[in-house]
Amino acid sequence: MIGVLVVSHSRKAAEGIGDIAREMGGDARIEAVGGDPDGGIGTSVDDIRDALSRLADGTDGVVVLADLGSAVMNAEIAVEAADEDVECVVVDAPILEGALNAAVAASSPNASLETVERAAAEAAEHATGT
């Protein structure tokens, strides 16, 4: 099984995007984190790392979707520092469409890190309608 992690500057946005992805993604393992270490707008590397280790437990890899610049950078740092036992990848994709596509792909019995990552990346095409 492949896990999906949603990282937004806003905890509410992350949870909302997680809810939408869960609606389509069935049984996929989806976690959502957001907010800076004080709960304001931003991201916390420690929160991202905690979510990664929760997802790493029982999955074969984690695909991470992040919203704006610093969320992407903090997600990359958390992935670099993550347990080497599980493969994690940050995908360059629109966060909502990417999370939704990744969740659907992750719910497939044949899902691999590559198929879920590709599905998330392809979401950019849906986002712009091209």
């Binding site: 800076d36 270490p37 004080d38 304001g40 707008i41 931003g42 991201t43 916390s44 590397v45 420690d46 704006l68 610049g69 610093s70 950078m73 903090n74 990359e76 740092i77």
Partner: protein, 237 residues
């Protein structure tokens, strides 16, 4: 530089000074950031450097390299915005160059590794209206001053700070190409970049620390890692 203990004192003094300076200029950084960003640069850095001071104080038996790495990790954990991975990640990466402690050679290597990681992680080049605009001329000036002009490190650092200051001024007329400010497009023109500004503040405090430890007039073993309160109050005026 001399003993491990002296280096530790210098690092403590540097982080104390930087944390105090960032705290006193928190509002200034917030004002700069509110013009072209999300107004949180001052608060984020303040939270980060308070954590750095706390973590470093706890490490009373660590080598220089470990102390600098710890500072980077604290920034990564506590900042919450882009300056966390940019300042903290670069600091952690560059700390590898300080295996032999703080010397003219290792500080040049540190500065270069820091800049390289910063550009790599943030994807910004000179002219994008970011901290890279202050740091790039500073690092190039420092390296040239040490390696080509063979200036003493203190003089080289002073020249680097001058270069960073010009870099900060250079950001004012630019149109932002990276970070949150880039969403504003032309509206970002005419505003000084907050990241370049905080980079300059940090370099100024490193220079102030170097002046204590490298001018030869101070008995380094007697130097206190804590700056007097009146110095803190006078900063930012």
């Amino acid at each position: 530089m001399a003993s491990r203990e002296t280096e530790r004192e210098a690092i403590l003094e540097a982080v104390d000074r930087i944390a105090a300076r960032i705290e006193s200029e928190k509002q200034h950084l917030a004002d700069l950031d509110s013009a072209i960003g999300d107004a949180d640069h001052g608060a984020n850095l303040d939270r980060g450097f308070q954590a750095v001071v706390e973590k470093i104080e706890q490490k009373d038996d660590a080598e220089t390299q470990e102390l600098v790495k710890t500072a980077g990790m604290a920034l990564i954990s506590k900042v919450g915005g882009a300056s966390g991975p940019l300042y903290g990640g670069s600091c952690m990466h560059a700390s590898q160059e300080l295996e032999d402690g703080i010397t003219a050679e290792t500080t040049v290597a540190f500065a270069e590794a820091y800049l390289e990681k910063l550009r790599d992680r943030g994807g910004a080049e000179v002219g994008d209206k970011t901290m890279v605009d202050a740091l790039t001329p500073a690092v190039h000036t420092y390296k040239k001053s040490i390696e080509v002009d063979e200036l003493p490190p203190l003089e080289a650092l002073a020249k680097a700070v001058d270069a960073a200051e010009r870099g900060v001024e250079f950001t004012v007329p630019l149109k932002a190409a990276k970070g949150r400010a880039s969403y504003l497009g032309w509206r970002s023109v005419g505003h000084q970049d907050p990241g370049a500004t905080s980079t300059l503040l940090i370099l100024e405090e490193l220079l102030a620390t170097a002046q204590v430890y490298l001018d030869g007039n101070v008995d380094v073993t007697a130097a206190s890692p804590t700056i007097p309160d009146e110095d803190v109050e006078n900063q930012g005026e």
